[in-house]
Amino acid sequence: MRISVDIGGTFTDVILLDEETGSLRLEKVETTPENPADGVLAAFAKADAEIDKIDYFVHGTTLGINALLTRTGARVAIVTTKGFRDVYLLARTSREPMYDFKYRKPVSLVPRYLAFEVNERMDYQGNVLTPFDKASASEVARRLREQDIESVAVCFLHSYANPNHELAMAEVLSQECPGVSVTLSHNLSREYREYERTSTTVIDAYVKPITRSYLEKLDRELRSEGFAGRFLMTRSGGGAMTLETAKAQPVHLVLSGPAGGVIGGAHLSKLIGHENLITLDMGGTSLDASLVTDGQVTVENEQYFQTLPISIPTIDIHTIGAGGGSIAWISEGGHLQVGPESAGAVPGPACYNKGGEDATFTDAALTIGYLDPDNFLGGEIKIDATLAEQSIGKLAKRINMSLHEAASGIVRISEAKIAGAVRVISIERGYHPKEFSILAFGGGGAFVGASVARELGIPRVIVPPGPANFSALGMLMVDIVHDFAQTHVVGLEDVDIKTVNEIYAGLMSSCEQALAEDGFDKKHRTFLPSAELRYQGQEHTVNIPMPGHKLESGQVSGIVEDFNTAHERQYGHSMLEDPVEIVTLRLRGLGLLPRPDLPKIGNGSGDVKGARKGSRPVYQYDSGEHLSYSVYDRGRLLGGDRIEGPAIVEEPSSTTVIHGGDIMTVGEYGELVVQLPL
């Protein structure tokens, strides 16, 4: 048996998969912020999991990102090269708001008086300019003890080229500050740019003690309850990692929250034969969009938390403040706006009747008829359409609109913002949306999927089984992943293939060792070598898969060609005559876990009358009139069933909207496939 538990801000999702019977159990429990381990055990109980029969437990947690959001992580000190204590505080000295003369950077994770300098210096090739001064390192260690530091981020200049001084510092700290958590920058990133590497190191150090104690406690409790399987954590760069890796490099957990759904999307894409997907995960406060191409997640080498860079491979997920709880408001100039502020779970949308008065996306969806007030979350939560209408009516009056115009305007603006987010991860990366299908999940994805698809010319929307728990489902599909990289700047024209192969051999041996430590034999290891390339003189790179980790000189021209093609696709031009250079060599190693089979649903008779619950009017933005939508119960639909829009398919935690002209069919895993007439 496999179980996944995904802790979110409000709810904890759990999915139990019994591979023998093929049964899938989806449950939700309330998140227990004060003791998340209790929440995990409660989730196990809710799913009636027999703990001793679980082979794999895959876990996702927001612990790290919450500590960052609330600034409640460890007391961290920075140890850096003499003369550079302010690299972290200064950051890149930039700001996004163009006209704000009073701009402040976000509150720093480390105050200036906790940044310490050690006398040492390397040059960019890793040559020692100033030897590591052990006396100054010991003096720093003394001050760390004096300041009761819990966690230390060590980042020396040019350590990506030569990590010896960071290793020497670790040695001093292990002797003079025993018990203090230490993060060395070169262990997380072997790439240049000191601020970005320092920031990555600080974030890791900041969440390390809290993550470590949580994971150790949870593991202990599970083991004492009889758990004997493998305990894995989801990883922001895709795949999973072992408990040991998660404790050593918790920075890989920080942005892992929305990763499960994308990983699940990649796996599902192969099962259902649609290997190019745009995933739309719409929750209560935000929407996460990502891209699956040829059945693979797409990875970027740098992401941000607030304005703080994290330089590790991370699934390319674009998040915007467009969720079910996003609040509608009127700008000073009299324009209707939606988000990014959210009513969250408390007080929530006005229709929840928990004291929220602001009109939200959910209130608008209810008012125009997308939602059934009597069947929200399968009837578990009673929502009040009158309160929704009141909240929207107040806005409508201020801008001289009718109730329904304003409500459909709120939905329309949200859809436009979501379409914008999809543009960022597709068109801006050189992919045309029409070659993709939308995979819509989360509580709200299936509301907006068809409209967003229309806006962008995407021919198809797919709603997976259990859309509201899909992230947790995705977590059951993971392999173990390790990423290694080494900066090596050299022109491809005069490249010494032997040196490149030596670097790959080094990356291979690190990767082999990590996978062996995780318990994978040679049969269950796969390696994906790639390289970051650019035209000589450019700074930014394009990641190009390599034909292997032992290159031959005859392959170079093909690599250059691949790069030119990718550059042309992403940016609309290539410079065929310009020399191309390697910047960074990368290797991703996978430890392959047995793939669970997703249960299939049987085929239906083709008659969907039995699933039809009735109909309800839905307000149409374009015509300004109501149109009757047939309403179906998803639980009673079977494989091969076909429904023509306009229609609505309801299930306890999600609602799929199918517009006029759209045709929906049910696939063999129970996925709803909505085809648009394009």
Binding site: V87, L90, H335, I427, G572
Partner: protein, 575 residues
């Protein structure tokens, strides 16, 4: 327009903003030059057929606003009837493009079927166009020394590359490959914006699109007018000084402004500023309009995306032929008056709006540029970085420490590890300057120090023109420390200066100190706990805490000595 169209307006507005953002990403990712991808020395936008800005993306704020004028002059010269789909037009004639000739404006028309529906425009810094000196010019006396002038020249005609023009650019160039690579990135980004707007118009139709942009602009105007109406009416004036014009090093240059707010409009009048300068400190009119608009927007609508509607209530006056309105053939290369100009506008407004505007920032961009031939590769190199300054304190809080000047929001510093990989120098240190922020109830932000140690014969240029006057404090706050450059520190040749262009020998050292922001309000009213925190963080020295803030701190225990502090301040400390 019908009510429901308002939703469509919002949809179209979002689309235009994301198209501008995409242009920026495309440019950053494909350019060949640190000055673009790290320092973001560019400005870009999407325009309608009347050259009105619809959407922009962060870069150099002075560029974006100046592009409005540059686009208009380019099209006036070319003739709107003489532009075809697939054309790309380059302008480096400074009196039109509104910056110096190395900041080249590229314009790409947007057509829907046969109809012209707008433009995309990007101005960005080119590394060379055969100007008098490599890198940058500090002492030209005529535009004809400042590089190749491109007067609305088509580099693409109906989608076909103009090889002759390309050859002219290539042959008038010290760094042809990097310049052509950057130009390709610039054109590609223009085309990206062009494609997006075309798609948008195809989707909504020209009529809807045109109605929507009128409303986007009207909306921009409405919010600007609403904010303007909240400000007190009056007329205030101020002046400040730039170091020199680069030729006559002994004469400081005056910036004088008179700002009037009525219920209806803001008038910014530069009459009384410096007459035309002999050296290259003259400012093209579009640039003066741009930086005046920057200050106006910062005071009225800093929180909304910019479009031409925002600037309708603004009138700018700059007498023709003077420093703030250059005419041919006046040299314009060192456009540093554009950096100080918005500060002087805020200085005037400070008298009437002390609770709205901040004190002076560090006042400049403190750019250091090195160039030479790299001994390891034999290739030419040019690297530069601007430095953060302190922002001015204001009624609601302290100024930020080490942040790029008001005029260059998107700009980033160049990392030490990048600088050292690309050029034969070592950065010896990089840190915040203690006590450089002006004391105040709300402290001015700190400036920054960076020290360069050359490893091989090279040249260095420093672009700094406000070193002789201090960043002013306001409402009782004290001045910040002004920035300066120290060449050959600790040697007999040591020189403390501003803008220079010197050869450097191996082992030569230069220190760049950027300015701190001015303080706001009486420093004796600053919360002593905040002063203590500043001392603990070494932003403020013990001596300054005592002398400037009247807070006496015991360095051993790091606690406030209450009695002496009260005595110093003459009242109870607030904590």
């Amino acid at each position: 327009m019908s009510k429901i169209d308002q939703i469509t307006v919002e949809v179209i507005h979002n689309y235009l903003l994301s198209a501008a953002k995409e242009m920026e990403r495309n440019l950053m990712r494909t350019s060949y030059n640190t000055i673009i991808y790290e320092i973001r020395d560019f400005g870009l936008g999407i325009y309608d057929t009347q050259f009105r800005l619809l959407a922009e993306s962060p870069g150099l704020a002075i560029f974006t606003r100046g592009n409005d004028y540059g686009l208009m002059k380019t099209m006036e010269f070319l003739g709107v009837g003489n532009i075809d789909p697939g054309d790309v037009v380059l302008t480096s004639y400074p009196y039109w493009s509104s910056a110096h000739p190395l900041d080249v404006l590229a314009v790409s028309p947007i057509f829907h079927e046969d109809r012209l529906i707008g433009y995309t425009a990007i101005k960005q810094h080119w590394l060379d166009l055969g100007q008098k000196d490599p890198g940058y010019c500090l002492d030209t006396t005529s535009v004809y020394q400042e590089g190749l002038l491109l007067p609305a020249a088509k580099i693409y005609k109906q989608g076909v590359l103009n090889q002759e023009l390309l050859n002219i650019i290539r042959f008038n160039n010290r760094l042809p490959n990097r310049v052509i690579g950057d130009m390709n990135a610039q054109i590609s980004a223009c085309r990206t914006g062009e494609r997006r707007v075309k798609e948008l118009v195809e989707k909504f139709g020209v009529d809807t699109y045109e109605q929507a942009i009128e409303e986007i602009l009207d909306h921009g105007e409405r919010i600007a007018r609403a904010r303007l109406a909240e400000l007190p009416n009056g007329t205030w004036s101020a002046e400040d000084w730039l170091d020199d014009d680069g030729v006559d090093k002994d004469t400081m240059l005056k910036l004088k402004v008179e700002v009037t707010i009525t219920g209806e409009e803001m008038i910014i009048d530069w009459t009384g500023s410096q007459p035309a300068t002999v050296g290259p400190m003259n400012l093209p009119l579009g640039c003066t309009l741009g930086v005046s608009g920057l200050a106006f927007k910062g005071v009225t609508t800093p929180d909304t995306p910019a479009n031409a509607g925002n600037f309708r209530p603004l009138t700018v006056i700059a007498p023709e032929g003077e420093m703030m309105h250059a005419i041919p053939p006046a040299p314009t290369f060192t456009i540093w008056a554009s950096l100080l100009a918005p500060e002087v506008i805020l200085k005037a407004l400070a008298q009437g709006l002390p609770d709205v505007v901040p004190a002076c920032s560090g006042g400049d961009v403190f750019d250091v540029m090195g160039l030479g031939v790299h001994p390891k590769t034999g290739r030419s190199w040019v690297e530069a970085t601007n430095e953060g300054v302190g922002f001015g304190g204001h009624a609601h809080g302290d100024g930020e420490d080490g942040i790029m000047h008001l005029t260059e929001p998107g700009c980033r510093n160049n990392p030490v590890e990048v600088l050292e990989m690309k050029a034969p120098w070592i950065v010896e240190n990089y840190y915040l300057r203690r006590d450089s922020g002006g004391p105040g109830e709300h402290r001015g932000g700190l400036g920054v120090t960076r020290t360069y140690h050359f490893l091989a014969p090279s040249s260095v240029l420093t672009l700094v023109k406000k070193t002789k006057t201090k960043p002013w404090g306001m409402a009782g706050g004290k001045d910040g420390e002004n920035g300066h450059v120290i060449v050959w520190p600790g040697t007999e040749k040591e020189e403390i200066t501003g803008a220079i262009s010197y050869p450097m020998a191996a082992e030569d050292v230069i220190v760049n100190n950027s300015g701190g922001g001015g303080g706001w309000g009486d420093p004796f009213k600053r919360d002593p706990e905040k002063v203590l925190e500043d001392v603990r963080n070494d932003f403020v020295s013990l001596a300054s805490a005592k002398d400037d803030y009247g807070v006496v701190i015991d360095p051993k225990t790091m606690t406030i000595e209450a009695k002496t502090t009260v005595a110093m301040r003459g009242s109870e400390p607030s904590s």
